[in-house]
């Protein structure tokens, strides 16, 4: 089992993905936490642009980060999946290529927020994806997350 996700590992993602020109955004609760939302979570969720070039860059970057991907797994990621769950590396990572509630990567990219060099989905997109996913754990967190969004918008006017 991987250790808990640490700040230094987020920096590694940022730096390695930048070297490989991977287009991605932090999404989900890990994205909200980067924006300042106080809560707990277990892993990082990355929204990866789903294009052949970007998929290939992401698989190269993941191997450089220490994820032990087999040839078949690399081929799957490069071919394009909507969701990949990795627990075969230095930390747990969910790769989300088609998050619920967000129509395309480019629109989310235009709305992104930069937090100390980390590209993060806008809080509205994080909320949209959780609303659309409609899981029990999402519904529980949404009122507080929406209150955070309101607070964040006030602070960032």
């Amino acid at each position: 089992m991987a250790r808990r996700f640490e700040y230094a590992q987020a920096e590694e993602i940022r730096d390695v993905f930048a070297r490989h020109d991977v287009r991605y955004l932090f999404i989900g609760k890990s994205g909200a936490i980067l924006l300042g939302y106080p809560d707990t979570t277990q892993d990082a969720d990355l929204f990866i642009e789903k294009t052949p070039t970007n998929n290939a860059a992401a698989s190269r970057a993941l191997r450089e980060l220490g994820f032990e991907l087999t040839g078949d797994q690399v081929a799957e990621i490069e071919r394009g999946k909507d969701f990949v769950q990795l627990k075969n590396g230095p930390f747990d990572l969910d790769l989300v290529f088609a998050p619920d509630g967000i129509e395309d990567f480019e629109q989310a990219w235009k709305r992104r927020v930069d937090v100390e060099g980390f590209p993060v989905c806008h809080p509205d997109d994080i909320i949209r994806s959780k609303e659309a996913a409609g899981r029990v754990k999402d519904r529980e967190v949404l009122p507080r997350l929406k209150a955070f969004r309101d607070y964040w918008l006030e602070r960032n006017r």
Binding site: A10, G36, P38, V84, Q85
Partner: protein, 73 residues
């Protein structure tokens, strides 16, 4: 997107947001990321799904309901 949540816990939450805002990102990370074992979910090193809907369906069918990955009724 609509804003201005009304909730009796709003003042408490806003105090928490203010407190978090005074912490560095590095400190927020230390408080935010935990690791506990999640049955079934943590029992494979790699999973992939062609569609997000496939993933949601797999979660609903295979994960214990108390993990919260199933659909809200």
């Amino acid at each position: 997107m609509a804003t201005l949540v009304e909730d009796p816990r709003l003042d408490e939450w806003r105090a928490e947001f203010e407190a978090a805002g005074r912490r560095s990102l590095r400190t927020r990370f230390r408080y935010a990321f935990l690791h506990t074992y999640k049955p079934v979910l943590d029992d494979a090193e790699y999973r992939s799904f062609d569609t997000t809907a496939d993933y949601r369906e797999w979660c609903a069918r295979h994960l214990p309901p108390w993990l919260g990955y199933g659909p809200a009724v």
